[in-house]
């Protein structure tokens, strides 16, 4: 794997994991909004 490919993979994994975290944050607030 070249350095460029590794950087691309790192960026992609970072974005996916950050998106999951954001989804849990917004998702649980939305559960609160729907229930309240």
């Amino acid at each position: 794997m070249t350095e460029a490919e590794q950087k691309k993979n790192i960026r992609r994994t970072t974005l996916i994991v950050a998106a999951i975290a954001l989804a849990f944050y917004i998702g649980f607030i939305m559960i609160g909004v729907v229930r309240a």
Partner: protein, 535 residues
Amino acid sequence: MNTEVHAHDHHDDHDDHGPAKGVGRWLFSTNHKDIGTMYLIFSLTMFFIGGAMAMVIRSELAIPGLQFVHPEFFNQMTTMHALIMVFGAVMPAFVGLANWMIPMMIGAPDMALPRMNNWSFWILPVAFGILLSTLLMPGGSPAGGWTMYPPLVLQTGDSFPFLIFSVHLMGISSIMGAINIIVTVINMRAPEMSLLKMPMFVWTWLITAYLLIAVMPVLAGAVTMLLTDQFFGTSFFLAAGGGDPVMFQHIFWFFGHPEVYIMILPAFGVVSEIIPTFSRKKLFGHDSMVYAASCIAFLSFIVWAHHMFTVGMPLTGQLFFMFATMLIAVPTGVKIFNWVATMWRGAMTFETPMLFSLAFVFLFTIGGFSGLMLAVAPADVQYHDTYFVVAHFHYVLVPGSVFAIMAGAYYWLPKWTGYMYNETLGKVHFWASTIFVNLTFFPMHFLGLAGMPRRIPDYSTQFADFNTVASIGAIGFGLSQLLFVWVLLTSKQGEKATDRVWEGSHGLEWTVPSPAPYHTFETPPKYRIADEAFE
């Protein structure tokens, strides 16, 4: 996992880009070893601050009646002690160990996102500075318990927004740390290291990082809703406005139960590294350990309501959460079995890291068994909010998580400093800690079974004797930890450590010199399986 490198790749000739000089080295460092060191020092500092609060609590409870502090301050101490120990001591200690060891264990030059690594650390002192500053505010610090249940927590005075802000900061720090670990482990392993060849410490941390990604945002969401309820007129949890306070408990414990595993899975990883080394055998059932840890992580998401049996729920709900909780004993049992099987017929020696690991196996199991007792829904109605619960989670967290951190610190200290620590002092520290930790927390089981409620500054005289014993134990345990500081301070007075440090150690981290050079594995190491090394 049994591994060796073909060619040792020491990389100890990088004088041209070694550590920066002065305070800038620490403020702006992107080096995983520096950041790991900062995490560990921060964690130890918080351990003593949280410990001082525990001393206040135990001094007040040493005899019946009100002795030293006002009840309101006592409640502040229990709340702050828990927040500091969970988020400031145990979690950062494991992140520190991860920062130091994961890149070296997988043959990576550093963490994948080094600048974010610096941010994740430096957010923490700010978060805890804010939290500790509330002690000086009018009305004092938060006193509604670390669980922050509404409507009680909404009665907190001026410190409330500071509490919420600091919890958000702790969450951001943890999430950034978790992202870094996942990205590093997924993308930066040595070329021939497949996922199942990774050391157990790396595996347990990868699983922990996924747990963090899933649940820290949930805690952040819950406290954001608390904030809007208090200041922006919403009624998420306020019954008067159509909200539901019990919903907070569901959301909190959806975070809170996996949080328990966030604090214990890396401990499993540390112990899984140490026991094979001092048994001079490979870890029994490495792959089953991985599956067991994954199974525990999955189950941790579907058991949260066992913390809430007494708030009322349908019978089917009680049955589901009761049996799901009991199910966790199965993969946990697999782990205990594998550690014992690793030791079976091993050429065991009992250096300090091994002693702490053995105590971990025994004493964590006691915490696990009392957890099983609490999982029984009808029995939990009796135990709920008593000292039995306090005994249970302290057995899991002190001789569990904290002992594993101590074991890891002693195990890797020679690799960090380049010198062997004082083994005699280490053993004295171990025995003092083990005796006093049991003296502190074992009597709490009896107090709980006899009906003593938690979070009270005064109690009926029938509870006096066991409380006095627990307080003596707590003071002894606190003083014993000063020995650990002494061992650390004198750690460079010992013999020079070899590269491998321990006779039975295996893995990439033991192929670099001791102390580990500032930069390691800038070229990925060649790597092969060498099971015969253990035969």
